[in-house]
């Protein structure tokens, strides 16, 4: 009968893209911290 896909830890109703916070196929929780922004070298 399959499984209830809402129990896999993904916010399927999100208006934002899921891939941005997709931690891993093995995780029930989103990745914390967002994307790695590249900023000009002068700020490092």
């Amino acid at each position: 009968l399959g499984i209830d896909l809402t129990t896999l830890g993904l916010n399927l109703n999100s208006s934002e893209n899921l891939h941005k916070t997709f931690a891993s196929p093995w995780s029930d929780e989103p990745a914390k911290g967002g994307p790695d922004f590249s900023i000009p070298e002068c700020y490092y």
Binding site: L1, G2, I3, D4, L5, L8, G9, L10, L12, S14, N17, L18, H19, K20, T21, F22, S24, P25, W26, A31, P35, D36, S38, Y44
Partner: protein, 515 residues
Amino acid sequence: EPDASTFQKQVSLLFADWYRICELPAGNDTPSTKFILQLHQNGLLRGDDMSDRFFRILLEISVSHFGEVMQSSQQVQSSFLAIDIYSKLVYSILKYCPVDQGSSKLFLLPKILAVTVRSIQKDHDEKKEDFNPRPYFRLFINWLSDIGSLDPLHDGVNFQVLSAFANAFHALQPLKVPAFSFAWLELVSHRTFMPKLLTGNSQKGWPFLHRLLVDLFQFMEPFLRNAELGELIRFLYKGTLRVLLVLLHDFPEFLCDYHFSFCDVIPPSCIQMRNIILSAFPRNMRLPDPSTPNLKIDLLEEMSQAPRILSEVDAAIKAKQMKADVDEYLRTRQQGSPFLGELKQRLLLSPKEAAHAGTRYNVPLINSLVLYVGMQAIQLLQARNRSQPQSLSSDLVDKAALDIFQTLIIELDTEGRYLFLNAIANQLRYPNTHTHYFSFILLYLFSDAHQEIIQEQITRVLLERLIVNRPHPWGLLITFIELIKNPGYNFWNRSFTRCAPEIEKLFESVSRSCG
């Protein structure tokens, strides 16, 4: 040939030098660029045999360092130290290495990846259960993040990088390196890789991800056939579902355009997984509620639009030298042609193939035949409608295509019929010409059947796709609703709807959930 021990030592010393450079305060690139230039002048970055050995030895040193530290201390970050240093070295080489005029800045990347792939394969084949994927996973994660954002100014460079990694992952697919499978899927679906492959570059990355997902499904298929999953496979299966859900949510068009080949490699028992793919629809589309009273699906504008299909639909029938015969029959509908009589036999696998596949039938061939014939019929109908807008309903179906479908549904045994009906039901998706046509065909075959067993099987194929948890494809819902609501099909008077109390309840429950 074995490496000279002097060369190994030289590489080891160079690695130690690089480590010291990495420890210097950030902000000054000069030591790094000088080091890279020195490597280049030493002839280690030519992309030849010596280059290969250089990178291979570095990788082996890094991986063995991981192993040693993990054994002694279990400290993850320190055990990754050598891997991080090595990945940084490769990144710096790609960034700073001088290139000859006319050469691509990234010419070394595919070579380094090839060395990495071969090392992983060798390590895996030698160590077997003792193989540890984690240091290699860390290496790729570092590279995807760093090299993946190298020089974003040049789109072409960006695609070169992505396709190089995609090729490497294909070489490391689960069927070839099974102990790398979990790490592999996490890499392929990682946010620094998968979304980039699907975004921009005029969708050139799409075939690469398609190939990788097929690799995954091909690995899983034998384990998923019987729908009784052990804990291990269930774990991999759930991970795959998560990846598919991300694709369904963020890149549904990708699933739409490759649904055909995905259905080739997902076993019939994986109904929910298949439904996820078949439920995808373009983001700019709004689907009418299937339970809307008096919904006139024929009048929906989208029903006259053909879906985009990037899979090669006729590949299987071409490979089996069937396409010419199919075309010939569709064109001439020749009475007495042996084509129809021989059709069933041609869909069977050899006994040896069947034993391996777990089915007597060539499922991709059935899928290809069904969709190809349907597409030819739709084309013919559209051409006919353009020239004769007032066609009678009986002429709305191309008779030759119908001959083929009717032959198959009558002559195939239960197993073959089930697979044939699956091939039709796989086209019941979002509103488009294929959904429209195959919905009609399925209902036509139901009403035209002289044997109740055929009607029962059609019902079963629809029902099993509806009783699993969501999502359910739109075309599946409207077809089933039409079947149970339209008195012309006399559905509720069929004996199989009342063959057991549980079955009666099931039908009532499903029809209630369809509104």
